[in-house]
């Protein structure tokens, strides 16, 4: 098996990450509406995390069990955050 087939180009992934970093910074300093800017910045963050998880942490070649171990906490956190919105965000 050739090297390029066994290992993705980690440097290429890194360039994407740096590019996304720049995009995120631009979103922060360009004149978008506040809600729009936050949405874009967060999307960029998710994309970067996805790249790191998939390619550097090798999730793309791992089994379902690892996905479950990594994914279940994320789902729980989303649930926790949503449940706390009425009390914490909208406190009297």
């Amino acid at each position: 098996m050739s090297d390029t087939a066994r290992f993705p180009s980690y440097v290429a992934i890194w360039s994407w990450l740096v590019a996304l970093l720049v995009v995120g910074l631009m979103c922060a300093f360009l004149p978008f509406g506040k809600a729009m800017a936050i949405f874009l910045i967060f999307t960029v963050a998710v994309a970067k995390a996805f790249l790191v998880a998939r390619h550097y942490m090798h999730l793309r070649s791992e089994s379902l069990l690892i996905y479950a171990i990594a994914g279940l906490p994320v789902l729980l956190l989303i649930g926790l955050t949503i449940a706390l919105v009425p009390d914490i965000v909208f406190r009297r």
């Binding site: 069990l65 706390l84 914490i88």
Partner: protein, 573 residues
């Protein structure tokens, strides 16, 4: 991964810094039992104070001021005892005995492995909780005394030292808890990795003993729920030490945030404690009915469902805390829902008795005791879970009775069932039956007599965590109830003496235990008592499920898991 052949380890490597899961299990057991004494002692002082407020409490003259004044209890120390009783019992008795001791000792044996996947991590997990216990105990001796804000440590009370008068005690409490969490995180990682990777050949997940399923579910629940509380504990510690503004309103913080973070963990935590106790009972029942557990798969699925549901019920602890009222209904619904899988499990346990050849040695008595008492606890949970009722009974002794009717059954009835059942395997000796039966009856009668009255107290409006009920006119008529409960509790405490005598006496004088004194199927009984280093002389292979008792046409009424199916049965005869 067994260690290579080596010479006999010295005293320290063998008994103190051991990486052998069996020794580590024993260490956890001793830690849990010792801390239970401390927890019980605090309960004694609390209950005496409630029954005869302001009186001189017997046996306490040695406790110095400002905690006690020649046997008279200081109100702040009362709060501290209430706090430490809960903290110690949940984190340093229940979890070490059920998860640390039974889990560690049994898991590798039940799956046919020679040890845990990560033995040195296992050793580290024990020494971490040992350190945590030392830190917590030391908080009794610092200036200001131990933590005083309840085991739930709600801010603002826990956040500002001037509110309780406790400074370092609360910080040490947070540190002890952090260490305890770290210890059980390490343990949980080990349990899950071991069960996934080191099962014997032929041991698919649906041939695992139910105790293993319970331990694994508990591990997953703990691992996924403790994170937000660790975050919260860090925040509370920072609030107390460097003046951050997480929870104190006057600094712009939100006290309700702590409650959410605490109970997001707190609720799964009670199932972390419950499930291994249920597991112990489920292992004991088939052995002493000589028939399979009813509904193995149903129990497994119900356990998984209840584990998932346990993450979405937490706000039922907060119905009257000032949460958005619109949260009350969904959390009431999920709370009522979660009673369904647990009811299924209890029904399965009762059905497991039907038609069995039942005998009543001590482990079985405790298992049956669990069934009876946990039923009360579970049913009263439904009262608490419906928000409208909870508005009245929250913060009263009804809640105290409810959670003692769930926690005590799992830790003491389930835990003792486990200890009496596996003692021969753990220590190689048989315990004394007469002392065991005496222990059971005194515990059963003492426990019920102590806590049934508390349901009545709660419905009468008796609040929790108060120092002197007689300050309130409407509670004065209830004083005899408190006194009765206290006398019953003393009976309960005295009833533990037979156990202490039995436990330590049998180490020395008990009959030597055979490999399989109870005639059980699971793998731990198919090796010597106690098992040798490496657990099995030859690694077993598994050919059947764990509960093949009284198979039709079989010569014996039990069929160990590593015994191959007889040819006739394999042909479908």
């Amino acid at each position: 991964m067994s260690e290579p052949a080596h010479g006999e380890p010295g005293f320290w490597r063998r008994y103190v810094f051991s990486t052998d899961h069996k020794m580590i299990g024993r260490q956890y057991l001793f830690l849990g039992l010792v801390m239970a004494l401390v927890g019980a002692a605090s309960a004694y002082v609390i209950r005496w104070q409630l029954a005869w407020p302001e009186s001189q409490i017997p046996l306490t003259r040695w406790i110095p001021e400002p905690a006690m004044y020649d046997g008279h209890l200081d109100p702040s120390f009362y709060n501290q005892l209430v706090t430490m009783h809960g903290t110690i019992m949940v984190f340093f008795v229940a979890m070490p005995i059920l998860l640390g001791a039974l889990g560690n000792f049994l898991l590798p044996l039940m799956i046919g492995a020679d040890d845990m996947a990560l033995p040195r991590l296992n050793m580290m997990s024990f020494w971490t909780i040992f350190t945590a216990a030392v830190v917590l105990t030391s908080s009794f001796f610092v200036h200001g005394g131990p933590a005083a804000a309840g085991w739930t440590a709600y801010p603002p009370l826990s956040d500002d030292p001037s509110y309780t008068g406790v400074d370092w005690g609360q910080n040490l409490w947070l540190l002890a808890l952090a260490l305890e969490f770290a210890s059980f995180l390490m343990g949980g990682i080990n349990f899950l990795t071991t069960a996934i990777n080191m099962r014997a050949p032929g041991l698919g997940f649906f041939r695992l003993p139910l105790m293993v399923w319970m331990q694994l579910t508990a591990a997953v629940l703990f691992m996924l729920s403790v994170g937000p509380l660790i975050a919260g504990a860090v925040m509370l510690l920072l609030d107390r030490t460097i003046g951050t503004a997480f929870f104190l309103p006057q600094r712009g913080g939100d006290p309700l945030l702590w409650q959410h973070l605490f109970w997001f963990f707190g609720h799964p935590e009670v199932y972390v404690v419950l499930l291994p106790g249920v597991g112990a009972v489920l292992e004991v029942l088939p052995v002493f009915t000589r028939k399979p557990v009813f509904g193995y798969r149903t129990i497994v699925y119900s356990t998984i469902v209840s584990g998932l549901l346990s993450f979405i019920v937490w706000a039922h602890h907060m119905f009257v805390a000032g949460i958005d009222p619109r949260l009350a209904t969904p959390f009431s619904i999920t709370t009522i829902l979660i009673s369904v899988p647990f009811a299924i499990i209890v029904f399965a346990m009762i059905a497991s008795l039907w038609g069995g050849s039942i005998t009543f040695p001590t482990p079985m008595l405790f298992a049956l005791g669990f069934l009876v008492t946990f039923l009360v606890g579970g049913v009263t949970g439904i009262f608490n879970g419906s928000a409208a009722v909870d508005i009245f009974i929250h913060g009263t002794y009804f809640v105290v009775a409810h959670f003692h009717y769930t926690l005590f059954p799992t830790v003491f009835f389930g835990g003792f069932a486990g200890i009496y059942f596996w003692y021969p395997k753990i220590f190689g000796r048989m315990m004394n039956e007469a002392l065991g039966k005496l222990h059971f009856w005194l515990t059963f009668i003492g426990f019920n007599a102590t806590f049934i009255p508390m349901f009545l107290l709660g419905m009468g409006g008796h609040m929790r965590r108060i120092y002197n009920p007689l300050q309130y006119d409407f509670l004065k008529p209830l004083a005899p109830v408190n006194q009765f409960a206290t006398l019953a509790m003393i009976l309960l405490l005295l009833g533990q003496i037979p156990f202490v005598l039995n436990f330590f006496g049998s180490l020395r004088y008990g009959a030597k235990a055979a490999d399989n004194p109870w005639g059980a199927n699971t793998l731990e009984w198919q090796t010597s008592s106690p098992p040798p280093h490496g657990n099995f002389a030859t690694p077993p292979a598994v050919h059947r499920g764990p509960y093949d008792y009284s198979l039709p046409g079989a010569a014996k009424d039990f069929a160990p898991q590593h015994r191959a199916l007889p040819a006739a049965a394999a042909r479908g005869a």
